[in-house]
């Protein structure tokens, strides 16, 4: 599990005549929390969907441990890659524990037919995201922060070696944002390859082992936070003026304005 790598090999995507991704070539190191940053429309979500094999690229492929992910059956792939999309919805008011059991579906488990091991994985996931107390509540009654953690638990319950989360902390308050980042960091430290799309550059700098920056469908740079987040690059890509300081907590980012 600790050695799983993911590699987007020359991935391009055309959607309705518009090129969303231009020959993106990215390797993701094992057991790391990777933050994917970039302005709106940079192609982050599309790349995540391709990595999750929810979307088929126009050209190029995704390799896991050097083998094409597309060669796996849907179930095999689902056991290897857990994916939490950007729009987090649960249309029907279902009990939390049963919803999280959906994460065991790639292992052939359903609420009706689940082994002790499956229920253990579900309860473990609920514990890790600190929502064990909500197990028997209905998803529709939960707050945004609780719901976000329950849905992360659903992804964790799969116990896949790769976890892809698209904007996991959007719409969360600062407390829950921090909590969520800590959870993702713990998953990475436990050996999972975690890729998270983030808009909060400060949290990305604070928590991520590696940062990959996309702009207009191309990779701008990939590396650690000090390498990737420079004032010049943030001005070029995001159009923001920032001051950067290295202190005992890591890289500190203060936005001072917009680049004219």
């Amino acid at each position: 599990m600790t050695s799983t790598t993911l590699h987007a090999e020359q991935v391009s995507l055309d959607l309705g005549g518009r090129t969303v991704l231009h020959a993106v070539d990215l390797a993701f190191a094992p057991a790391c929390l990777h933050a994917m940053v970039g302005p709106n429309g940079a192609g982050k979500s599309s790349l995540m969907r391709i990595l999750a094999q929810v979307l088929v690229p126009s050209s190029g492929r995704v390799l896991m441990n050097g083998r094409p992910l597309a060669g796996l059956s849907a179930n095999q792939r689902a056991r290897m890659v857990a994916y939490l999309p950007q729009d987090r919805q649960a249309v029907w008011p279902m009990p939390v524990r049963e919803l999280v059991m959906l994460g065991r579906m790639p292992h052939g488990a359903t609420v009706e037919r689940a082994t002790r091991q499956d229920w253990q994985a579900v309860d473990q996931a609920l514990e890790r995201t600190k929502v064990s107390g909500l197990a028997h509540r209905c998803i529709a009654q939960l707050s945004g922060g609780e719901k976000a953690r329950v849905l992360l638990a659903r992804a964790l319950a799969t116990q896949a070696p790769v976890l892809l989360v698209d904007e996991p902390i959007a719409a969360l308050d600062p407390h829950h944002q921090w909590l969520m980042m800590e959870l993702l960091q713990q998953e990475a430290q436990a050996g999972c390859l975690v890729i998270a799309v983030l808009h909060d550059l400060s949290l990305a700098a604070r928590f991520a082992d590696r940062i990959v920056m996309l702009d207009q469908g191309r990779v701008v740079v990939q590396g650690d936070s000090v390498t990737v987040l420079t004032a010049q690059r943030l001005a070029d890509v995001f159009g923001i003026a920032v001051t950067l300081e290295q202190d005992k907590h890591g890289l500190r980012l203060v936005q001072t304005g917009l680049v004219p």
Partner: protein, 344 residues
């Protein structure tokens, strides 16, 4: 923590007990349907007539009431489970074959075959034509609204297709040389179980059973769709296959049902809501109870039309619409948020 099946709803009765209650009421309604009719027969006469003899009672039971009861049972069941499957697929509590124009289209298909003289009323071509046109209507619907359909777009497109099919049906009938065409219009547009034979049962039930089986087998897909299409895909569900299977099965079941009973509306909308009251919102778990609820609703409506003293018998489709429309409106009011957001 205990393992097992937790419930979100803190109800006094377990879902199993409530389901058992549903079975009990269904059996009572089956008996009521067999015992209700224009000719008063005693319980003993009815039961005896069902199994043996060739007197009047036997004829009434086996050639009038039994086919009628069986058809109501199966047609109600397929409409109920179709509604539940479509609601699961569309992730939308307002989905129903009628809302998408499928029964109206199937009725048009059946009428077209009858009046073009291609086949008689007791030919297998009739259900096949109804199924074909229902399938076509789904195809057109999906072409109009596209994959990422909003609720509003789906309902508007369904309305357009249903209205068009209804209009086309009345035109075909009006152009036919048959002077009794007007009654036929009412039959196809309103639906009825009057004067059906066991031949009608044999013509439709195989298709209906196949469709029921296919829909029941898709439960995991509907459950995974709770989290949206991308999540379901990432969990190993082939969403486009699920969509295709569901629409084809609904077209097959509803098409066959409409071919023998006419277009009966809103059972597919009400039944899943009844099922949710019994077993919760899980889109897989409501499939079977929706089937049972649909059967029950249809039997109740069909017994009701026989009990109401009227010059000509009430149409069962009118009764289900009468029950269904207020519920439809209530559902729209309750889920107003869906319309505000726009996306399904």
């Amino acid at each position: 923590m205990v393992t097992g099946q937790p419930r979100a709803d803190q109800a006094r009765l377990s879902p199993h007990r409530r389901l058992a209650g549903l079975y009990a009421v269904l059996v009572v309604m089956l008996c009521a349907s067999l015992l209700t009719g224009a000719v008063p027969l005693s319980l003993a006469q009815s039961l005896a007539g069902l199994w043996s003899g060739d007197d009047l009672a036997a004829t009434i039971m086996r050639e009038i009431r039994l086919p009628r009861t069986l058809l109501a049972l199966f047609v109600g069941g397929i409409l109920g489970i179709s509604g539940a499957a479509l609601q699961g697929l569309m992730r939308n509590p307002l989905a129903d074959p009628t809302v998408f124009g499928a029964p109206q289209s199937a009725a048009f298909g059946a009428v077209l075959v009858l009046y073009s003289g291609m086949a008689g009323a007791l030919s297998v071509v009739l259900p096949l034509a109804a199924i074909g046109v229902a399938l076509l209507s789904f195809g057109v619907l999906m072409r109009i609204v596209g994959r990422e359909a909003s609720v509003v777009a789906l309902i508007l497109a369904g309305l357009a297709i249903g209205t068009l099919a209804g209009a086309a049906t009345s035109i075909v009938i009006a152009l036919s040389p048959n002077p009794f065409a007007v009654t036929e219009i009412v039959f196809w547009m309103m639906g009825s179980f009057e004067d059906r034979s066991l031949l009608h049962v044999g013509l439709s039930v195989p298709f209906i059973l196949a469709a029921m089986g296919l829909l029941l087998s898709q439960g995991n897909g509907y459950r995974a769709l709770v989290l949206g299409e991308d999540s379901a895909t990432s969990l190993g569900i082939n969403v486009s296959r699920l969509r295709w299977m569901t629409l084809a099965s609904v077209a097959m079941g509803v098409g066959a049902a409409v071919a023998v009973s006419g277009a009966i509306g809103f059972v597919g909308l009400i039944a899943p809501h009844c099922a949710r009251l019994l077993v919760g919102a899980d889109p897989k778990r409501i499939l079977w109870p929706s089937l049972l609820s649909g059967s029950l609703l249809m039997l109740m409506a069909d017994v009701l039309v026989r009990l109401v003293p009227a010059q000509t018998e009430l149409r069962v489709g009118a009764v289900t619409a009468l029950l269904g429309v207020p519920l439809f409106v209530a559902a729209i009011r309750r889920h107003r948020g869906l319309f505000a957001e726009g996306a399904a």
